[in-house]
Every structure is written in structure tokens, then in C-alpha cells.
Amino acid sequence: MVLVKSLYPEVPMTDIPALRYAYFPGCVAQGACRELHMATQAIAQTLGIELIELKKAACCGSGTFKEESQLLEDAVNARNIALAEQLKLPLLTHCSTCQGVIGHVDDRLKTAKADDPAYLNQVNGLLQEQKCSPYQGSTEVKHLLWALVGDYGLEMITRQVKQKLSGLKCAAFYGCYLLRAQSSLPFDNPVNPSSMENLFTALGATPVYYSGRTQCCGWPLSSYATEASFQMAGNRLEDAIAANADCIVTPCPLCHLNLDSRQPEVEKVTGKKLGLPILHLPQLVGLALGIDPGKLGIERHIVRTQPLLEKLGF
């Protein structure tokens, strides 16, 4: 158990859950979206959540390993999960794609443990050949969103809010892998999810509903079917703008890349001016917790976030 300092005298220290996770950073948060890594670290520190970074982990494959072979996806991610198992901690992701891929491998291998032990033995045999710890199926794979909503609890987060995001209309963009890659979600409905919107409400913001919130951003096609990919991103952005959103908030850095970094190209393909800021989930949480926007890397986005910060009085 970790010691946490109470931020508010009225919140008894014992009420704040002492949470520890094996933190899986993923490639994008170490590359083109370093602001996501900054924001996750910043909110974890403020909320008193301890993150132990898996320095020896590897890319989950973002769904591409499985196209080479299922064994490749399973072996690499069984190793990732086993690293968290060694620490006896749940593996924490902050990317919908990492969550969907590693969570799905965890589901599959847990099923194999009961129904197809020969397959699990094959995977573990490969791991042991490389002197890696075997996969045991003894932990869980959890997205930051689920950790916040499920483990930390929205009531507790509300009590830690320093700057209510009143009047900010937030459109959630969940990411396909977070909703549909795993056979069952801990408490959300994959067709009509509500965890993001519930979190927005807890932070004082106003959730905005639009049909694109559960659909694909087009990122997987962006390197080779660029026009189709940007058209898809454009459809989502236009949908959110039509619902009067001030910003889109996403728990997936790959969605962020297509919706934010490529938004100028998306504007060219759709022929419409968009200019919709896209926030990473922990950035929005961080703003409500009163963390300096600079520490959340909010200025590192392609679509300017200044109007948003001004609206919030930063």
C-alpha cells in the first residue's frame, strides 16, 4: 500500500484509495504524443496513484502482429502481461489500442488456460526459451479510464476537483479497441458506453453525445489509404462540431494522431474548416485537478487549445 497525502483536509486520508499499477507506456506516448505520458504521470501524482513503469515491455503491435500471426501477438503480449504479474500488479494502459490488444490477449490466454493448455504451453515455451517469465493469467489489463472510474471512483475524483470545468462541452471519442476488442467490458456497454461521459460530469464538464463517439477515427488506414482515412476522421469531427462540442476527449493516442495531428489534412479532404481541439483523457482530468496546463503538454497539440484554456479561465 502506498501512502497518499490528502489534498483536502476534509477528505480523510483513508478514503483515498491507495492504488498501484504496472504502467505500460506504449509507443505513441513515448513518441509523437509525449504529452499523454506527461499528463498521465501528472494526474497519477496528484491523485496519489503509484505507477511503476514497465521499462522492459514492448510494443503491443497495435493489431498488426495478429496479421502476421496470432502466435506473434500472443507471445509478445504474454511477455508484457507477465512483466506486470511479476510485480503482482494490474497492467495499466492509457491507449485504447494497447488496451484492446493486450486485454484481448489476456482474455484469450485465460480461456486457453482452461480450454487449450497446449496452446498456452506453446506460448510459455517460447517465453521460457528467451528466459522470460511465463504468463500465469494472474492479473488484469486495465485502461486508465477504467482505473479512474472503477477503482478510484468518480465521487472521489469529484472531491479532488479544484477547477470545475463548468460550461465546457466535451465530446468523448472512445476508440474501437477499447469498446469492441475484448469479449466483455468490466462495466461499460460497448454499444452505448457512458464511462467517459460520467467522468466529464464528475469533473464539472458537460458531455456531448454524437453518433461518431464509438466509431473509428480512420488511423489504421492513414499511411496507405490517406483520403479514406481523413474522410473518416472528418466525419467524426463534423459530427462532434454539429453537436456543439468545444473539444473531443479521447483515451486513445492513435485516435489523437488522426484527429489532431492530421486535422489540417482532414480539412483539405473534407473542404471544411474544423479547428476542433482534441484532448487526451488525462489532460482533461488534469485541468480539473488544477494542474498547470504546461505540465499536461496541452500546448503541444496541432489544433490550438488556447481558446479552450481561455474559456476555462487558465
Binding site: 509523437a32 514492448a58 496479421e67 528467451q130 468518480l154 461499460d188 452505448n192
Partner: protein, 412 residues
Amino acid sequence: MQVLFKVVRQYPNQQPRLQTYTLEVEPSSTILECLNQIKWEQDGTLAFRKNCRNTICGSCSMRINGRAALACKETIKQELSRQIPSTFLSGKLTDGEELNPILEINVAPMGNMPVIKDLIVDMQSFWQNLDTVDPYVSTAGRQVPEREFLQSPEDRAKLDQMGNCILCGACYSDCNALEVNPGFVGPHALAKAQRMLADTRDQATETRLSQYGQGTEGVWGCTRCYNCNAVCPMDVAPLDQISQIKSGVLQRQDAQASRSVRHRKVLVNLVQQGGWIDERKFGFKVVGNNFKDVQGVLGLIPLGLRMLQRGKFPSTFEASAGVSEVRSLINSVKMRESQSTETMSDPAPQNPVAPESDAPESNALVEGPDPSFGWNTYAERINGRFAMLGFIALLVLELVTHQDFFTWIGLR
């Protein structure tokens, strides 16, 4: 119990409108039974397809509460249990709290197809696309045997999952790729395509893989949105079948075959090199094809400059502390896979991938020619790269300083 049905009604060439019906139903009633109740007791003009009432014919697919499903399969009780209670706050229901069902069912026609009337859509493109994958076991070049074409029960069992498809159109309706790429054949057709590839009696494997791997009409058009897997009422898992086809294509094609193939090969190669993906290299290798695709490189420049300007461009890369383990793990998986492919009776790949050595740099599929002395391809490439780097540096310099190069160095 009382339920409110909100049904999207549409006449040809008119805007859709929402019509509501209040029904007295049993929790076990299927959505189809409710629609029949509306049609028979309240409004005979409501149009929808139906036939077997038993999840066999695939006629009654429509969008129910936001996703494509069979009206004869889903019940009122199941639909209500999918609603998240509005009091949900901390992720857990408090003791004694009961689900607060929202007694409302939304029904709409399937997507990606034009509406003929109300819940009936024109499925012409669905059937035409199915036909393009040649969904018949090939008999070309086969001698007619004395007995019928034999298949072992084990080999037949490999077709079960794809064979369960009832062609209801649910996956096609909710496919995100079709929304932006009308040329994409759709998940139903590709699931059928894999059914043909997996059939031991079919002799057209190579032709099929080459066809399905062309452009973005086939497997590379899929955006992996997972909707097909999620909505399929028969657990065909079309996305999984698409992955199987991609695997066959990737075994036979090298990184130069197409950008979509290169994307996959480069990704695995970079993970072997660094554990994580070095995003600085990824774009140039996939889109720029190691500077071979000049148009691709030029297309990346605005993105690169934009990211540099915002401090978003990853200037450094730190490999995973477990990179050597990851590298040898991937190599041994590849070795295992190539051994199992060889032992299977599948036709030999046209361009089999050479077994990987420990050094990922030796992967000739992705990397260039070996360094050697003299004016050769290697020197030409290096020279080209430096020229391009210089050019980009010049652009960056001029953008940052708002001066041209000669003014900047003080010559003007």
C-alpha cells in the same frame, strides 16, 4: 410491460422521420414479435423484412438500439439489460439498487445501403461484392475423380466458423471502412473469401490471395473498427478472417509489394530493433519507402514541420530495456511459424520470407543494400538521403528564422 418503440420511417426519396409506438409486451418477446405486433395491430404500413423467426434466414437484420442485429434474435429483456443504469456513478451499483430500465427501443434501417422503405434496404451492393471474391470452390484444372471430392471431418471443421454466415448484412451495415470507401468489398465477402482459402478442395489459393491483397478493395481496405466482429449474430468474426487472409498475403509478399504490406513489415522490424516503435523512422520507411517514394516523403514534410513547430516531433528515441529479449522472442516465433508452414500441405510461398537472423538490420525486405566501396546503389542511396536531409533542414531553417539561407549566414 409497456415499451416505447421509436422506429425510423422512410419513404423513397423522402427524409426519414421518427415514429413512436407504445406496446404491451412480455420481456421474452423478440424485437421481431414487437414489430409484428405494430404491423398487425397498430400500423399496417410499417415495412420490414422477415421470414424464419429463428436466426436462420438472416432476413430481419436492422439497427436495434444503435447497432445492427437480427430482430428475431434480440429480446426486450436483453435490450433492456444492455442499458447502463443512469445512477451509475462510481463503477459499482450500490447495495440493493436495481437496474432502472429505460423502456425504450430504437429501431432503424441498416447502414451503408440505401433505404427502399422504412426498415428495408437495397442490398444490391452487398450481393455484388460477395460475388467479386469468387465465393465458389474452384474446380479449375481438376480431373473429375471416380468418387466425389473427399474432405476429412477435421478439414471440414476448419470451415465451420465462416460457414455459419447467414448473409444477414449486419457486418456490412456497421462497417466503418465502407462508409468512406465504397470500393471495399465488405467483411461478409472477406469472411467468405477466407472460407474458400481454408477449403482443402479449393485450388485457387495463390490467385485468391493476390486478388484479396490488391489495393484497398480487399483486406487492406479494412480499418479494424471491430464492428463486424461485435455485431455478427453467428460469431463468424469477419475481422479475424480478414487477419487470416492478411497473414497469407504477408507470407507471400515483400515490403516493396505495396505500402500496406510495407506498413506491417516495417512495424514488426522496428519492434525487433527497439522494442518500441521508433516513430521517427516509421513514416519515412512506410510512406517514404526509405526515400524511394519521393512523393511520399514530400507528403510527410508538412506533418513533420507542423510537429516540429509544436515540439511534438519525437527528436529522441529510447529503446526498451528488454529489447534483446523481444528481438529473439520475435525471431523464434517467426522460426516456429515458418516451420509449421513448411510441414503443412499448403502450397509453397512464391517469395518465402528468409528466416531472420539475430540482427534485425539484416532484414533485406525492409533495409537497403549492403555497404560497399565505390559508386554503387548503396552510395547513391546515402547521397540521396543526405541531399533530402539538407533540403529539409533548409526548409526548417527558413521557417524558424523567417530568413533565407544566404541572409542567415550573413552573405546578404
